[in-house]
Protein backbone atom coordinates (compact mmCIF):
# COMPACT_ATOMS: atom_id res chain seq x y z
CA UNK A 1 0.00 0.00 0.00
CA UNK A 2 2.51 2.60 -1.13
CA UNK A 3 1.40 6.13 -0.75
CA UNK A 4 2.78 7.16 -4.10
CA UNK A 5 -0.12 8.99 -5.56
CA UNK A 6 0.85 9.90 -9.08
CA UNK A 7 -2.70 10.36 -10.28
CA UNK A 8 -4.20 13.54 -8.93
CA UNK A 9 -7.78 12.43 -8.81
CA UNK A 10 -9.77 12.81 -5.62
CA UNK A 11 -9.01 10.27 -2.91
CA UNK A 12 -12.33 8.58 -3.62
CA UNK A 13 -14.78 9.13 -6.44
CA UNK A 14 -18.15 7.37 -6.60
CA UNK A 15 -20.05 7.78 -9.86
CA UNK A 16 -23.62 6.63 -10.29
CA UNK A 17 -23.19 3.96 -7.65
CA UNK A 18 -26.20 1.75 -7.07
CA UNK A 19 -26.38 -1.32 -4.91
CA UNK A 20 -29.35 -3.62 -5.13
CA UNK A 21 -30.10 -6.54 -2.80
CA UNK A 22 -32.79 -8.55 -4.49
CA UNK A 23 -35.61 -6.11 -5.10
CA UNK A 24 -34.41 -3.59 -2.55
CA UNK A 25 -32.02 -0.79 -3.25
CA UNK A 26 -29.47 -0.04 -0.56
CA UNK A 27 -27.99 2.72 -2.70
CA UNK A 28 -30.00 4.40 -5.42
CA UNK A 29 -27.35 6.41 -7.27
CA UNK A 30 -24.52 8.00 -5.33
CA UNK A 31 -22.13 10.55 -6.84
CA UNK A 32 -19.48 11.71 -4.47
CA UNK A 33 -15.94 13.06 -4.55
CA UNK A 34 -13.82 13.00 -1.43
CA UNK A 35 -10.64 15.07 -1.52
CA UNK A 36 -7.23 13.83 -0.51
CA UNK A 37 -6.55 14.31 3.19
CA UNK A 38 -10.14 15.13 3.97
CA UNK A 39 -12.00 14.02 7.11
CA UNK A 40 -15.29 13.13 5.51
CA UNK A 41 -18.34 11.78 7.31
CA UNK A 42 -21.37 9.90 6.07
CA UNK A 43 -24.34 10.34 8.35
CA UNK A 44 -27.93 9.25 8.22
CA UNK A 45 -30.42 7.06 10.03
CA UNK A 46 -29.88 3.30 10.05
CA UNK A 47 -30.62 1.71 6.71
CA UNK A 48 -29.71 4.84 4.76
CA UNK A 49 -26.83 3.10 2.97
CA UNK A 50 -23.85 4.63 4.75
CA UNK A 51 -22.26 1.34 5.74
CA UNK A 52 -22.97 -0.11 2.30
CA UNK A 53 -21.10 2.85 0.81
CA UNK A 54 -18.07 2.04 2.96
CA UNK A 55 -18.17 -1.61 1.98
CA UNK A 56 -18.19 -0.70 -1.71
CA UNK A 57 -15.09 1.40 -1.20
CA UNK A 58 -13.28 -1.26 0.84
CA UNK A 59 -14.14 -4.00 -1.66
CA UNK A 60 -16.05 -6.13 0.84
CA UNK A 61 -19.00 -5.54 -1.45
CA UNK A 62 -19.40 -4.40 -5.06
CA UNK A 63 -21.82 -1.95 -6.67
CA UNK A 64 -24.60 -3.30 -8.87
CA UNK A 65 -23.86 -0.44 -11.27
CA UNK A 66 -21.60 2.58 -11.17
CA UNK A 67 -17.91 2.93 -10.44
CA UNK A 68 -15.63 3.40 -7.48
CA UNK A 69 -12.21 5.04 -7.95
CA UNK A 70 -9.42 5.53 -5.45
CA UNK A 71 -7.01 8.27 -6.52
CA UNK A 72 -8.21 7.85 -10.08
CA UNK A 73 -7.69 4.09 -10.10
CA UNK A 74 -10.85 2.19 -10.95
CA UNK A 75 -11.53 -0.39 -8.24
CA UNK A 76 -13.78 -2.54 -10.41
CA UNK A 77 -12.69 -6.16 -10.01
CA UNK A 78 -10.01 -5.35 -7.44
CA UNK A 79 -10.55 -7.64 -4.42
CA UNK A 80 -10.59 -6.18 -0.91
CA UNK A 81 -7.15 -7.50 -0.02
CA UNK A 82 -5.56 -5.66 -2.94
CA UNK A 83 -7.17 -2.26 -2.37
CA UNK A 84 -5.15 0.63 -0.92
CA UNK A 85 -7.87 1.11 1.65
CA UNK A 86 -8.32 -0.23 5.19
CA UNK A 87 -11.28 -0.33 7.55
CA UNK A 88 -11.86 0.15 11.26
CA UNK A 89 -14.88 -2.02 12.02
CA UNK A 90 -17.63 -1.18 14.45
CA UNK A 91 -17.18 -4.51 16.23
CA UNK A 92 -13.38 -3.92 16.28
CA UNK A 93 -12.89 -7.37 14.67
CA UNK A 94 -9.59 -7.87 16.47
CA UNK A 95 -8.07 -11.32 16.11
CA UNK A 96 -8.71 -13.07 19.44
CA UNK A 97 -5.88 -15.57 18.93
CA UNK A 98 -3.22 -12.89 18.46
CA UNK A 99 -1.82 -10.46 21.00
CA UNK A 100 -1.89 -6.70 20.60
CA UNK A 101 1.44 -6.60 18.82
CA UNK A 102 0.55 -9.31 16.30
CA UNK A 103 -2.86 -7.78 15.69
CA UNK A 104 -1.24 -4.53 14.66
CA UNK A 105 1.43 -6.39 12.70
CA UNK A 106 -1.12 -8.56 10.85
CA UNK A 107 -1.18 -6.62 7.59
CA UNK A 108 2.57 -5.93 7.65
CA UNK A 109 3.23 -9.69 7.87
CA UNK A 110 0.99 -10.14 4.84
CA UNK A 111 3.22 -7.66 2.98
CA UNK A 112 6.34 -9.54 4.06
CA UNK A 113 7.77 -6.52 5.84
CA UNK A 114 11.04 -7.48 7.58
CA UNK A 115 10.76 -8.06 11.32
CA UNK A 116 12.83 -5.08 12.27
CA UNK A 117 10.61 -2.68 10.35
CA UNK A 118 7.50 -4.37 11.72
CA UNK A 119 8.76 -3.71 15.24
CA UNK A 120 9.45 -0.08 14.44
CA UNK A 121 6.16 0.58 12.66
CA UNK A 122 4.04 -1.19 15.25
CA UNK A 123 5.59 0.63 18.17
CA UNK A 124 5.31 4.01 16.41
CA UNK A 125 1.68 3.32 15.70
CA UNK A 126 0.88 2.14 19.23
CA UNK A 127 2.50 5.32 20.52
CA UNK A 128 0.36 7.38 18.16
CA UNK A 129 -2.81 5.86 19.59
CA UNK A 130 -1.51 6.12 23.18
CA UNK A 131 -1.39 2.41 23.85
CA UNK A 132 2.07 1.32 24.83
CA UNK A 133 3.19 -1.42 27.17
CA UNK A 134 0.32 -3.79 26.37
CA UNK A 135 2.05 -5.61 23.49
CA UNK A 136 1.49 -9.11 24.82
CA UNK A 137 -2.09 -8.61 26.03
CA UNK A 138 -4.88 -10.39 24.24
CA UNK A 139 -7.68 -8.20 22.85
CA UNK A 140 -10.24 -9.56 25.32
CA UNK A 141 -8.12 -8.41 28.24
CA UNK A 142 -8.51 -4.82 27.08
CA UNK A 143 -11.31 -2.32 27.47
CA UNK A 144 -13.53 -1.33 24.56
CA UNK A 145 -11.69 1.94 24.09
CA UNK A 146 -8.33 0.22 24.05
CA UNK A 147 -9.59 -2.38 21.59
CA UNK A 148 -10.80 0.32 19.27
CA UNK A 149 -7.44 2.05 19.42
CA UNK A 150 -5.73 -1.21 18.42
CA UNK A 151 -8.15 -1.57 15.53
CA UNK A 152 -7.21 1.96 14.46
CA UNK A 153 -3.49 1.23 14.77
CA UNK A 154 -3.87 -2.04 12.88
CA UNK A 155 -5.49 -0.26 9.93
CA UNK A 156 -3.28 2.82 9.94
CA UNK A 157 0.03 0.99 10.18
CA UNK A 158 -0.41 -0.06 6.55
CA UNK A 159 -0.28 3.56 5.33
CA UNK A 160 -3.60 3.25 3.52
CA UNK A 161 -4.55 5.88 0.96
CA UNK A 162 -7.97 6.01 2.55
CA UNK A 163 -9.08 4.87 6.01
CA UNK A 164 -12.69 3.84 6.38
CA UNK A 165 -14.26 3.98 9.85
CA UNK A 166 -17.59 2.24 10.36
CA UNK A 167 -19.21 3.68 13.51
CA UNK A 168 -15.98 2.98 15.37
CA UNK A 169 -17.14 4.59 18.61
CA UNK A 170 -20.69 3.28 18.56
CA UNK A 171 -20.21 0.79 21.39
CA UNK A 172 -18.43 3.14 23.78
CA UNK A 173 -19.79 5.31 26.54
CA UNK A 174 -20.12 9.04 26.04
CA UNK A 175 -17.01 10.13 27.94
CA UNK A 176 -14.78 7.63 26.16
CA UNK A 177 -16.35 8.53 22.85
CA UNK A 178 -15.49 12.20 23.33
CA UNK A 179 -11.95 11.25 24.28
CA UNK A 180 -11.49 9.03 21.24
CA UNK A 181 -13.04 11.62 18.92
CA UNK A 182 -10.23 13.93 19.97
CA UNK A 183 -7.69 11.18 19.38
CA UNK A 184 -9.08 10.37 15.93
CA UNK A 185 -8.94 14.01 14.91
CA UNK A 186 -5.36 14.36 16.16
CA UNK A 187 -4.26 11.17 14.45
CA UNK A 188 -5.89 12.19 11.20
CA UNK A 189 -4.15 15.56 11.26
CA UNK A 190 -0.85 13.89 12.06
CA UNK A 191 -0.88 11.20 9.36
CA UNK A 192 -2.82 13.22 6.78
CA UNK A 193 -4.68 10.17 5.50
CA UNK A 194 -8.16 10.60 4.05
CA UNK A 195 -10.71 9.46 6.63
CA UNK A 196 -14.20 8.40 5.64
CA UNK A 197 -16.24 8.15 8.79
CA UNK A 198 -19.66 6.58 9.15
CA UNK A 199 -21.85 7.49 12.09
CA UNK A 200 -25.46 8.13 12.94
CA UNK A 201 -24.38 10.70 15.49
CA UNK A 202 -24.55 14.11 13.87
CA UNK A 203 -22.71 15.84 16.68
CA UNK A 204 -19.82 13.43 16.38
CA UNK A 205 -19.65 13.94 12.61
CA UNK A 206 -19.83 17.71 12.91
CA UNK A 207 -17.14 18.04 15.55
CA UNK A 208 -14.58 16.06 13.57
CA UNK A 209 -15.31 16.41 9.87
CA UNK A 210 -14.20 18.77 7.15
CA UNK A 211 -17.27 17.80 5.16
CA UNK A 212 -20.34 15.71 5.79
CA UNK A 213 -22.78 13.91 3.52
CA UNK A 214 -26.30 13.26 4.80
CA UNK A 215 -27.80 10.09 3.35
CA UNK A 216 -31.40 9.04 3.27
CA UNK A 217 -32.73 5.80 1.87
CA UNK A 218 -29.87 5.26 -0.53
CA UNK A 219 -29.52 8.80 -1.80
CA UNK A 220 -27.41 11.76 -0.77
CA UNK A 221 -29.59 14.57 0.56
CA UNK A 222 -26.81 17.07 1.05
CA UNK A 223 -23.03 17.36 1.08
CA UNK A 224 -21.21 20.23 2.69
CA UNK A 225 -19.25 21.65 5.56
CA UNK A 226 -20.91 21.01 8.94
CA UNK A 227 -21.74 24.70 9.46
CA UNK A 228 -23.37 24.89 6.04
CA UNK A 229 -25.44 21.82 6.61
CA UNK A 230 -26.60 23.07 9.95
CA UNK A 231 -27.36 26.62 8.92
CA UNK A 232 -28.60 26.02 5.41
CA UNK A 233 -30.11 22.54 5.21
CA UNK A 234 -31.41 21.82 1.73
CA UNK A 235 -34.31 19.66 2.87
CA UNK A 236 -36.54 19.36 5.90
CA UNK A 237 -35.10 15.87 6.44
CA UNK A 238 -31.56 17.21 6.74
CA UNK A 239 -32.69 19.98 9.05
CA UNK A 240 -34.41 17.48 11.29
CA UNK A 241 -31.59 14.93 11.22
CA UNK A 242 -28.91 17.44 12.12
CA UNK A 243 -29.78 19.00 15.42
CA UNK A 244 -33.52 18.58 15.27
CA UNK A 245 -35.77 21.36 14.13
CA UNK A 246 -39.24 22.78 14.42
CA UNK A 247 -40.90 22.40 11.07
CA UNK A 248 -43.69 24.89 10.54
CA UNK A 249 -45.85 24.56 7.43
CA UNK A 250 -45.96 27.88 5.59
CA UNK A 251 -46.97 29.34 2.25
CA UNK A 252 -44.66 31.58 0.24
CA UNK A 253 -46.35 34.92 -0.17
CA UNK A 254 -43.52 36.97 -1.57
CA UNK A 255 -40.17 36.22 -3.18
CA UNK A 256 -37.35 38.75 -3.02
CA UNK A 257 -33.64 38.36 -3.73
CA UNK A 258 -32.33 35.77 -1.26
CA UNK A 259 -35.35 35.68 0.98
CA UNK A 260 -38.99 34.76 1.19
CA UNK A 261 -41.97 36.22 2.93
CA UNK A 262 -43.95 33.35 4.41
CA UNK A 263 -47.38 33.07 5.92
CA UNK A 264 -47.79 30.61 8.76
CA UNK A 265 -51.46 31.10 9.47
CA UNK A 266 -52.13 31.94 13.08
CA UNK A 267 -48.37 32.02 13.85
CA UNK A 268 -48.16 35.10 11.67
CA UNK A 269 -46.03 36.10 8.80
CA UNK A 270 -42.34 36.90 8.46
CA UNK A 271 -39.43 37.20 6.04
CA UNK A 272 -36.44 34.88 6.19
CA UNK A 273 -33.77 33.32 3.97
CA UNK A 274 -34.13 29.87 2.48
CA UNK A 275 -33.07 27.48 -0.28
CA UNK A 276 -33.18 28.85 -3.79
CA UNK A 277 -35.89 28.02 -6.30
CA UNK A 278 -39.01 28.23 -4.20
CA UNK A 279 -42.01 29.68 -6.03
CA UNK A 280 -44.61 32.21 -5.04
CA UNK A 281 -47.67 30.47 -3.59
CA UNK A 282 -45.80 27.25 -2.97
CA UNK A 283 -46.28 25.25 0.24
CA UNK A 284 -43.00 25.25 2.14
CA UNK A 285 -41.54 24.47 5.54
CA UNK A 286 -39.98 26.96 7.89
CA UNK A 287 -37.12 25.45 9.86
CA UNK A 288 -36.69 26.92 13.30
CA UNK A 289 -33.93 25.58 15.50
CA UNK A 290 -35.03 24.93 19.10
CA UNK A 291 -32.14 26.99 20.46
CA UNK A 292 -33.38 30.08 18.63
CA UNK A 293 -36.80 29.89 20.25
CA UNK A 294 -36.65 31.95 23.46
CA UNK A 295 -39.05 33.06 26.14
CA UNK A 296 -40.44 36.46 25.29
CA UNK A 297 -37.79 37.07 22.64
CA UNK A 298 -37.59 37.43 18.91
CA UNK A 299 -39.38 39.41 16.27
CA UNK A 300 -41.84 36.61 15.51
CA UNK A 301 -43.71 35.84 18.66
CA UNK A 302 -46.36 33.35 19.56
CA UNK A 303 -48.41 32.53 22.61
CA UNK A 304 -48.18 28.98 23.88
CA UNK A 305 -48.58 26.66 26.79
CA UNK A 306 -45.66 24.64 28.16
CA UNK A 307 -46.50 20.96 27.86
CA UNK A 308 -43.21 19.31 28.62
CA UNK A 309 -40.06 20.30 30.42
CA UNK A 310 -36.89 18.30 30.69
CA UNK A 311 -33.58 19.12 32.22
CA UNK A 312 -30.63 18.00 30.09
CA UNK A 313 -27.72 19.73 31.77
CA UNK A 314 -26.71 23.09 30.36
CA UNK A 315 -30.17 23.80 28.98
CA UNK A 316 -33.81 22.91 29.48
CA UNK A 317 -35.77 21.27 26.69
CA UNK A 318 -39.28 22.65 26.41
CA UNK A 319 -42.24 21.64 24.36
CA UNK A 320 -44.77 24.38 23.81
CA UNK A 321 -48.22 23.82 22.38
CA UNK A 322 -49.41 26.50 19.95
CA UNK A 323 -52.71 25.27 18.63
CA UNK A 324 -52.04 21.93 16.95
CA UNK A 325 -48.37 22.71 16.57
CA UNK A 326 -45.81 21.71 19.10
CA UNK A 327 -42.77 23.91 19.17
CA UNK A 328 -39.61 22.77 20.86
CA UNK A 329 -37.32 25.18 22.57
CA UNK A 330 -34.01 25.04 24.33
CA UNK A 331 -33.53 27.64 26.98
CA UNK A 332 -31.21 28.46 29.80
CA UNK A 333 -31.89 30.75 32.70
CA UNK A 334 -35.38 31.21 34.08
CA UNK A 335 -37.77 28.57 32.86
CA UNK A 336 -41.54 28.85 32.82
CA UNK A 337 -43.61 26.35 34.75
CA UNK A 338 -45.48 23.49 33.09
CA UNK A 339 -48.91 24.52 31.81
CA UNK A 340 -47.89 28.14 32.12
CA UNK A 341 -49.05 30.29 29.20
CA UNK A 342 -46.03 32.14 27.92
CA UNK A 343 -44.92 34.28 25.04
CA UNK A 344 -42.25 32.66 22.87
CA UNK A 345 -40.48 33.95 19.86
CA UNK A 346 -37.62 33.75 17.41
CA UNK A 347 -35.87 36.10 15.06
CA UNK A 348 -37.15 35.92 11.50
CA UNK A 349 -33.56 35.89 10.26
CA UNK A 350 -32.87 32.68 12.24
CA UNK A 351 -35.52 30.69 10.44
CA UNK A 352 -34.80 29.00 7.13
CA UNK A 353 -37.24 28.08 4.39
CA UNK A 354 -37.11 24.75 2.56
CA UNK A 355 -39.51 22.94 0.28
CA UNK A 356 -42.38 21.21 2.11
CA UNK A 357 -41.24 17.85 3.48
CA UNK A 358 -42.00 14.95 1.18
CA UNK A 359 -41.79 11.31 2.09
CA UNK A 360 -38.94 9.70 0.18
CA UNK A 361 -40.11 7.31 -2.51
CA UNK A 362 -40.12 3.78 -1.23
CA UNK A 363 -36.79 2.16 -1.94
Amino acid sequence: MENDVTDHGPAVRLSGVKRQFGDAYALRGIDLEIADGEFFSLIGPSGCGKTTTLRLISGLDNPTTGSVEVHGQPMMGVPAHKRPVTTVFQSYALFPHLDVYENVAFGLRERKVPNEQVREKVSTMLELVNLTGRNTARPRELSGGQQQRIALARSLVLDPEVLLLDEPLGALDLRLRKQLQGLLKTVQREVGVTFIYVTHDQEEAFSMSDRVAVLREGLIEQVGRPREIYAEPQTAFVADFVGGANQIPVTIVNVTAGSYRVDAGRLGSWTSPGISGLQLGQKATAIIRPETVQVGGGDVSVEGRVTDLSFVGPVMNLAVACGELEIRSMISGRTPQPEEATKFGWDAADSWIVAAAVEAEPA
Binding site: S91, A93, L94, F95, G107
Partner: protein, 280 residues
Protein backbone atom coordinates in the same frame (compact mmCIF):
# COMPACT_ATOMS: atom_id res chain seq x y z
CA UNK B 1 -19.22 -32.82 53.05
CA UNK B 2 -22.58 -34.51 52.93
CA UNK B 3 -25.36 -32.17 52.06
CA UNK B 4 -28.85 -33.04 51.00
CA UNK B 5 -28.00 -32.18 47.45
CA UNK B 6 -25.04 -34.54 47.35
CA UNK B 7 -27.38 -37.46 48.07
CA UNK B 8 -28.40 -37.11 44.43
CA UNK B 9 -25.06 -38.48 43.26
CA UNK B 10 -25.34 -41.66 45.32
CA UNK B 11 -26.98 -43.78 42.58
CA UNK B 12 -24.28 -42.75 40.13
CA UNK B 13 -21.49 -43.46 42.57
CA UNK B 14 -22.92 -46.88 43.43
CA UNK B 15 -23.46 -47.73 39.78
CA UNK B 16 -20.00 -46.59 38.73
CA UNK B 17 -18.46 -48.37 41.71
CA UNK B 18 -20.05 -51.73 41.00
CA UNK B 19 -19.93 -51.78 37.23
CA UNK B 20 -16.92 -49.61 36.50
CA UNK B 21 -14.35 -49.37 39.28
CA UNK B 22 -14.57 -52.96 40.53
CA UNK B 23 -14.10 -54.49 37.06
CA UNK B 24 -11.34 -51.98 36.40
CA UNK B 25 -9.66 -52.95 39.68
CA UNK B 26 -9.94 -56.62 38.75
CA UNK B 27 -8.37 -55.85 35.40
CA UNK B 28 -5.42 -54.14 37.03
CA UNK B 29 -5.15 -56.99 39.50
CA UNK B 30 -5.21 -59.63 36.76
CA UNK B 31 -2.58 -57.79 34.78
CA UNK B 32 0.00 -58.54 37.43
CA UNK B 33 -0.95 -62.18 37.71
CA UNK B 34 0.13 -65.35 35.91
CA UNK B 35 -1.71 -68.07 34.13
CA UNK B 36 -1.12 -71.77 33.96
CA UNK B 37 -1.22 -72.52 30.25
CA UNK B 38 -2.65 -75.97 30.78
CA UNK B 39 -5.25 -75.46 33.46
CA UNK B 40 -6.01 -71.80 32.74
CA UNK B 41 -5.76 -71.18 36.46
CA UNK B 42 -4.78 -67.65 37.29
CA UNK B 43 -2.17 -67.26 39.97
CA UNK B 44 -2.08 -63.89 41.64
CA UNK B 45 1.28 -62.28 41.87
CA UNK B 46 3.17 -59.11 41.31
CA UNK B 47 4.95 -59.76 38.09
CA UNK B 48 5.61 -57.27 35.34
CA UNK B 49 6.05 -60.09 32.89
CA UNK B 50 2.72 -59.40 31.16
CA UNK B 51 3.71 -55.80 30.54
CA UNK B 52 7.09 -56.87 29.22
CA UNK B 53 5.38 -59.15 26.72
CA UNK B 54 3.63 -56.15 25.16
CA UNK B 55 6.85 -54.93 23.58
CA UNK B 56 7.55 -58.39 22.18
CA UNK B 57 7.52 -57.81 18.38
CA UNK B 58 5.02 -60.63 18.07
CA UNK B 59 2.41 -58.40 19.71
CA UNK B 60 3.95 -54.99 19.43
CA UNK B 61 4.04 -54.93 15.63
CA UNK B 62 0.31 -55.59 15.11
CA UNK B 63 -0.47 -53.22 17.96
CA UNK B 64 1.50 -50.41 16.33
CA UNK B 65 -0.04 -51.24 12.97
CA UNK B 66 -3.47 -50.97 14.58
CA UNK B 67 -2.52 -47.62 16.06
CA UNK B 68 -1.31 -46.56 12.62
CA UNK B 69 -4.65 -47.51 11.04
CA UNK B 70 -6.52 -45.57 13.73
CA UNK B 71 -4.35 -42.51 13.17
CA UNK B 72 -4.83 -42.79 9.41
CA UNK B 73 -8.59 -43.04 9.85
CA UNK B 74 -8.58 -40.02 12.19
CA UNK B 75 -6.57 -38.01 9.68
CA UNK B 76 -8.98 -39.01 6.90
CA UNK B 77 -11.93 -37.96 9.07
CA UNK B 78 -10.29 -34.55 9.59
CA UNK B 79 -9.52 -34.06 5.90
CA UNK B 80 -13.00 -35.13 4.81
CA UNK B 81 -14.86 -33.52 7.69
CA UNK B 82 -13.25 -30.08 7.67
CA UNK B 83 -14.62 -28.84 4.33
CA UNK B 84 -18.06 -30.16 5.24
CA UNK B 85 -18.00 -28.43 8.63
CA UNK B 86 -16.71 -25.21 7.06
CA UNK B 87 -19.45 -25.25 4.45
CA UNK B 88 -22.12 -25.97 7.04
CA UNK B 89 -20.85 -23.17 9.27
CA UNK B 90 -21.30 -20.65 6.48
CA UNK B 91 -24.84 -21.70 5.69
CA UNK B 92 -27.71 -20.41 7.72
CA UNK B 93 -31.21 -21.30 8.68
CA UNK B 94 -32.96 -24.35 7.36
CA UNK B 95 -30.15 -25.65 5.15
CA UNK B 96 -27.83 -25.70 8.14
CA UNK B 97 -30.34 -27.48 10.37
CA UNK B 98 -31.05 -30.09 7.71
CA UNK B 99 -27.36 -30.78 7.22
CA UNK B 100 -26.84 -31.10 10.96
CA UNK B 101 -29.62 -33.68 11.09
CA UNK B 102 -28.12 -35.46 8.09
CA UNK B 103 -24.79 -35.69 9.90
CA UNK B 104 -26.44 -37.20 12.96
CA UNK B 105 -28.94 -39.52 11.27
CA UNK B 106 -26.53 -42.49 11.04
CA UNK B 107 -26.42 -42.54 14.86
CA UNK B 108 -30.04 -43.55 14.85
CA UNK B 109 -29.29 -46.87 13.14
CA UNK B 110 -27.41 -49.66 14.85
CA UNK B 111 -23.69 -49.38 14.52
CA UNK B 112 -23.27 -53.12 13.82
CA UNK B 113 -25.97 -53.11 11.16
CA UNK B 114 -24.37 -50.15 9.42
CA UNK B 115 -21.01 -51.88 9.46
CA UNK B 116 -22.54 -55.01 7.94
CA UNK B 117 -24.07 -52.82 5.25
CA UNK B 118 -20.53 -51.77 4.37
CA UNK B 119 -19.66 -55.44 3.83
CA UNK B 120 -22.11 -55.57 0.93
CA UNK B 121 -20.71 -52.37 -0.49
CA UNK B 122 -17.06 -53.33 -0.24
CA UNK B 123 -17.02 -57.06 -1.01
CA UNK B 124 -15.92 -58.49 -4.35
CA UNK B 125 -18.62 -57.97 -6.96
CA UNK B 126 -20.14 -55.22 -4.84
CA UNK B 127 -20.88 -51.74 -6.13
CA UNK B 128 -17.56 -50.24 -5.04
CA UNK B 129 -15.57 -52.97 -6.78
CA UNK B 130 -17.74 -52.57 -9.90
CA UNK B 131 -17.26 -48.82 -9.91
CA UNK B 132 -13.50 -49.22 -9.54
CA UNK B 133 -13.52 -51.69 -12.41
CA UNK B 134 -15.35 -49.17 -14.62
CA UNK B 135 -12.68 -46.52 -14.11
CA UNK B 136 -10.05 -49.19 -14.64
CA UNK B 137 -8.68 -49.66 -11.14
CA UNK B 138 -8.24 -53.01 -9.48
CA UNK B 139 -9.76 -55.05 -12.27
CA UNK B 140 -9.21 -58.65 -11.29
CA UNK B 141 -7.13 -57.70 -8.26
CA UNK B 142 -8.31 -58.92 -4.88
CA UNK B 143 -11.02 -56.68 -3.46
CA UNK B 144 -10.73 -54.17 -0.67
CA UNK B 145 -12.79 -56.26 1.70
CA UNK B 146 -10.73 -57.74 4.58
CA UNK B 147 -7.89 -55.28 4.09
CA UNK B 148 -6.63 -52.54 6.41
CA UNK B 149 -8.14 -50.17 3.91
CA UNK B 150 -11.62 -51.61 4.48
CA UNK B 151 -11.12 -51.19 8.22
CA UNK B 152 -10.06 -47.58 7.71
CA UNK B 153 -13.11 -46.94 5.51
CA UNK B 154 -15.33 -48.44 8.18
CA UNK B 155 -13.85 -46.27 10.91
CA UNK B 156 -14.07 -43.10 8.81
CA UNK B 157 -17.68 -43.86 7.94
CA UNK B 158 -18.71 -44.54 11.52
CA UNK B 159 -16.79 -41.78 13.25
CA UNK B 160 -17.03 -38.93 10.71
CA UNK B 161 -19.97 -37.27 12.52
CA UNK B 162 -17.90 -37.14 15.70
CA UNK B 163 -15.31 -35.16 13.77
CA UNK B 164 -17.72 -32.89 11.93
CA UNK B 165 -19.73 -31.76 14.95
CA UNK B 166 -16.94 -30.25 17.06
CA UNK B 167 -15.36 -28.74 13.93
CA UNK B 168 -18.69 -27.20 13.02
CA UNK B 169 -19.15 -25.74 16.49
CA UNK B 170 -15.67 -24.19 16.43
CA UNK B 171 -16.02 -22.81 12.90
CA UNK B 172 -19.49 -21.47 13.50
CA UNK B 173 -18.23 -19.48 16.46
CA UNK B 174 -15.74 -17.55 14.32
CA UNK B 175 -17.05 -14.04 13.82
CA UNK B 176 -17.32 -13.43 10.04
CA UNK B 177 -16.08 -9.89 10.57
CA UNK B 178 -12.67 -11.36 11.45
CA UNK B 179 -12.36 -12.73 7.93
CA UNK B 180 -13.47 -9.40 6.50
CA UNK B 181 -10.86 -7.67 8.62
CA UNK B 182 -8.25 -10.12 7.43
CA UNK B 183 -9.14 -9.48 3.77
CA UNK B 184 -9.21 -5.77 4.46
CA UNK B 185 -5.68 -5.95 5.86
CA UNK B 186 -4.41 -7.61 2.71
CA UNK B 187 -4.78 -11.35 3.25
CA UNK B 188 -6.05 -13.42 0.33
CA UNK B 189 -8.76 -15.94 1.13
CA UNK B 190 -6.18 -18.70 1.39
CA UNK B 191 -4.02 -16.61 3.73
CA UNK B 192 -7.07 -15.67 5.80
CA UNK B 193 -7.86 -19.35 6.14
CA UNK B 194 -4.30 -20.07 7.29
CA UNK B 195 -3.98 -17.14 9.67
CA UNK B 196 -7.50 -16.72 11.03
CA UNK B 197 -9.84 -19.67 10.39
CA UNK B 198 -7.40 -22.49 11.12
CA UNK B 199 -5.98 -21.16 14.41
CA UNK B 200 -9.44 -20.28 15.67
CA UNK B 201 -10.72 -23.73 14.72
CA UNK B 202 -7.86 -25.42 16.61
CA UNK B 203 -9.94 -26.33 19.68
CA UNK B 204 -12.49 -28.00 17.38
CA UNK B 205 -9.77 -29.85 15.49
CA UNK B 206 -8.30 -31.17 18.72
CA UNK B 207 -11.70 -32.13 20.10
CA UNK B 208 -12.64 -33.92 16.86
CA UNK B 209 -9.36 -35.82 16.73
CA UNK B 210 -9.72 -36.91 20.36
CA UNK B 211 -13.35 -37.97 19.85
CA UNK B 212 -12.45 -40.01 16.78
CA UNK B 213 -8.90 -41.14 17.53
CA UNK B 214 -9.40 -42.55 21.01
CA UNK B 215 -12.40 -44.80 20.37
CA UNK B 216 -10.96 -45.73 16.97
CA UNK B 217 -7.81 -46.98 18.67
CA UNK B 218 -9.86 -49.33 20.82
CA UNK B 219 -12.29 -50.22 18.05
CA UNK B 220 -13.28 -53.90 18.07
CA UNK B 221 -16.39 -54.41 15.94
CA UNK B 222 -15.26 -52.76 12.70
CA UNK B 223 -12.00 -54.74 12.29
CA UNK B 224 -13.81 -57.91 13.32
CA UNK B 225 -16.36 -57.45 10.53
CA UNK B 226 -14.47 -55.60 7.81
CA UNK B 227 -10.95 -56.80 8.58
CA UNK B 228 -12.00 -60.43 8.55
CA UNK B 229 -9.64 -61.27 11.40
CA UNK B 230 -6.63 -60.31 9.32
CA UNK B 231 -6.41 -56.65 10.18
CA UNK B 232 -6.38 -56.38 13.93
CA UNK B 233 -6.60 -53.23 15.97
CA UNK B 234 -5.51 -53.09 19.58
CA UNK B 235 -9.05 -53.81 20.70
CA UNK B 236 -9.09 -57.08 18.77
CA UNK B 237 -5.73 -58.19 20.13
CA UNK B 238 -7.07 -57.62 23.64
CA UNK B 239 -10.37 -59.38 22.94
CA UNK B 240 -8.53 -62.36 21.50
CA UNK B 241 -6.53 -62.76 24.69
CA UNK B 242 -9.72 -63.07 26.67
CA UNK B 243 -12.04 -64.86 24.28
CA UNK B 244 -9.76 -67.03 22.16
CA UNK B 245 -6.66 -67.69 24.22
CA UNK B 246 -8.02 -67.32 27.72
CA UNK B 247 -4.90 -65.41 28.74
CA UNK B 248 -6.59 -63.06 31.15
CA UNK B 249 -3.43 -61.62 32.71
CA UNK B 250 -1.86 -60.65 29.39
CA UNK B 251 -5.18 -59.35 28.03
CA UNK B 252 -5.57 -57.27 31.18
CA UNK B 253 -2.05 -55.92 30.89
CA UNK B 254 -2.72 -54.90 27.27
CA UNK B 255 -5.99 -53.20 28.26
CA UNK B 256 -4.41 -51.33 31.15
CA UNK B 257 -1.46 -50.26 28.99
CA UNK B 258 -3.79 -49.00 26.25
CA UNK B 259 -5.80 -47.11 28.80
CA UNK B 260 -2.71 -45.48 30.29
CA UNK B 261 -1.38 -44.56 26.85
CA UNK B 262 -4.67 -42.94 25.82
CA UNK B 263 -4.89 -41.14 29.14
CA UNK B 264 -1.38 -39.78 28.60
CA UNK B 265 -2.42 -38.55 25.15
CA UNK B 266 -5.51 -36.89 26.63
CA UNK B 267 -3.55 -35.17 29.38
CA UNK B 268 -1.05 -33.77 26.87
CA UNK B 269 -3.82 -32.67 24.52
CA UNK B 270 -5.80 -31.08 27.33
CA UNK B 271 -2.86 -29.03 28.50
CA UNK B 272 -2.07 -27.92 24.96
CA UNK B 273 -5.72 -27.08 24.41
CA UNK B 274 -5.76 -24.93 27.50
CA UNK B 275 -3.09 -22.81 25.87
CA UNK B 276 -5.10 -22.39 22.70
CA UNK B 277 -8.26 -21.72 24.64
CA UNK B 278 -6.45 -18.86 26.24
CA UNK B 279 -6.35 -17.59 22.76
CA UNK B 280 -9.85 -18.25 21.57
Amino acid sequence: MITRRSILVVPTVVWAGIFFFIPLGLLVFYSFGQIDIFTFDVTWGWTFENYQRIIDPLYFKPIMRGVGISLLATALCLVIGFPVALWMSRLGGLAQSLLLVAVMVPFWASFVVRTYALVNLLSDGGPVADALKVIGIGGGAPGIMYTPFAVAIGIVYSYLPLMILPLFVALERINPSLLQASADLGASSFRSFRRVTLPLAAPGIVAGCVLVGIPATGEYVIPAILGGGKTLLVGNVIADQFLELGDYPFGSALAVALMLALMAVLVVVRSRLRNTEDVA
